[in-house]
């Protein structure tokens, strides 16, 4: 037995998590620009969904091109709870986690009978179906025009709406990371990683592969839902086009820009995808072209994730999970 290396990554993860919490708090206190704060809020919100996709794609090896739909379901669930049911925001957030999580769990069994490119096709189609329904089901979603408008401001007791959202998104992100890193640290995570290489091997070891995959799918959906609900609360107005196929692809971009082997990559990826369009003048025009080329490049030269590959180049470490 080596005593020098720990058998859990959790201690290590906890240190980084604490560091991140400190940085986020300091940033909130130091930030004066509304613009910079909004970039941080959006990055944190998207990172939550990207973490879910990392678990699904990176650990369990199941691709989903429909995560944007679960973000949308979370967003509409929150809006419905706030506007139609007049529930308080915390309850709306809980509903926005539970509903997509449950839907994800129910859809998982049939959809995860697919694998590889069929799963990609199936989830892409699922996302497209959601978009069509969201654009057409006007009584709930308001369609494409006007969509959902005028969600209540969350400002209370001298805290501005943005401040509250910053805090909510920060706490949500830190909890999502904590859940994700502890999830993959134990036997459940090891089972998933074996399953990624071979479901047969995992099953012969005693892993209930169908259940494990459904759980991860549901968790990824729940995290997407949380992310979508926060986005809805923050923006206060949105329509179906915010949750189309494009969003699902951006989430995928976040994961592969970061890493397929660690949850931390999602934060890097989300930050990059949110910051670039806001920082570079005229980026929006060439956005798709650049995303496309970057994705092609990553898949050719760093299929386990750009951030991870760069990190390994710098530290010259081989990844061992």
């Amino acid at each position: 037995m080596t005593t020098s290396t720990s058998n859990s990554n959790l201690r290590h993860d906890a240190v980084i998590l604490a560091g991140l919490a400190v940085v986020l708090t300091l940033a909130e206190l130091a930030l004066t620009s509304q613009f910079h704060r909004s970039i941080l809020i959006l990055s944190m919100i998207h990172a939550i969904a990207a973490i879910g996709l990392t678990l699904l794609l990176g650990y369990a090896g199941q691709v989903s091109l429909g995560q944007g739909a679960f973000m949308g379901i979370g967003a509409y669930a929150a809006a419905f709870a706030l506007q139609k049911l007049a529930l308080p925001a915390p309850v709306a957030l809980v509903a926005a986690v539970l509903l997509p999580g449950l839907l994800g769990f129910l859809i998982a069994r049939p959809i995860l009978r697919l694998s590889g490119h069929n799963l990609a096709l199936g989830t892409l189609a699922l996302g497209a179906v959601f978009f069509v329904v969201a654009a057409q089901w006007r009584s709930v979603t308001g369609g494409l025009d006007p969509g959902i408008v005028d969600l209540p401001s969350l400002a209370i007791a001298g805290f501005s709406h943005e401040r509250i959202l910053y805090i909510l998104a920060g706490i949500s992100l830190l909890s999502a990371i904590a859940v994700a890193v502890s999830l993959v640290d134990g036997r459940f995570g090891r089972g998933l990683m074996v399953l990624r290489t071979s479901e047969l091997v995992a099953a012969c070891m005693g892993v209930d592969t169908v259940r494990a995959k459904s759980m991860v799918f549901a968790i990824a959906a729940a995290l997407s839902g949380l992310s979508g609900a926060l986005l809805a609360l923050y923006l206060r107005s949105f329509n179906a086009s915010a949750f189309g196929v494009g969003l699902s692809i951006e989430l995928l971009m976040m994961v592969i820009l970061g890493s397929l082997s660690t949850v931390w990559g999602a934060i890097f990826g989300a930050f990059a995808i949110i910051v670039l369009p806001n920082l570079l003048e005229g980026f929006d025009h060439a956005k798709h072209l650049i995303y496309g080329l970057v994705m092609v490049g990553i898949m050719m030269f760093a299929p386990r994730g750009l951030g991870e590959t760069l990190f390994r180049l710098v530290t010259r470490k081989r990844s061992v999970a």
Binding site: A128, Y291, V296, M299, M300
Partner: protein
Amino acid sequence: MDTLLQILITGLVVGCIYGMAALGFTIVYNATKLINFANGEFLMLGGVLLACAAQAAKLPMSLALLLAVAGAALTGWLMQRCILDMAMARSSDPLTLVMLTIGVALALRGAAALAFGREITFVPEFGLLPLVLIGNVYIPSQGLWIIFVLALTSTVLWYMFSKTMFGKAMRAASQEPRAAALCGIEPKRAAAIAMTLAGALGGLAGAMLAPISAAFYENGIFLGLKGFAAAVAGGLGNPIGAIVGGLLIGVVESLSAGYVASGFKDAVGFILLILVLILRPQGLVGRAIVTRV
């Protein structure tokens, strides 16, 4: 009765387009076992190129059509030669290749938006052929063009693939690379030819569709998905199935637009795709495939 017939005809016309998209997808799949998520972008390119050549550059329609098809075919060839050949040599992981073609699709969409703008462009009908009226049911002139073009291209392709040495070698390329190489068709060459053909077919289909539903740089996603739906419904890899699947999806969509709600028509094809993938992955007509453990 007349309404039903009218709906069926509208569905068949659009179904021809889906069938052509599915055919290109199938040819590539048969040559390299690649699921090309950029296939829909060929249709988008066909439409956008046609709009640009005919509207902005004021070229005659026939020349514009030729340019659109050639442009999409060239795109297919370049994509295979410059990107996929290298990627396929590096990795055979299906997921990596899938994401690679998604990247290519994104890049094409972005390039089209940059080059031709983000407006929805309308293109005039090709004309020449008449509008046919049978009782109260009519077939639009562009619809006749589309049916005619599908019939022609599928006959030519059928002849090429099943009657010529070249076609047999192409079909052998993915199963028996050595035998195919003896006929002068190495796997790489077969892949390039297949992708060029898919580009041409997609470009043609997209250009034919443009007068009916306008050209737009974001059209590729939905058109591509419907092409997949058609190919999968017909049994992946089966060219005749692809066309039948295309017609089927066109008709089902049109029926649901006519009798249920027009806004939901796009969802119908996608739901069909999901159901077929899960319940009958061998296609609606095919026989069960045994996978080895």
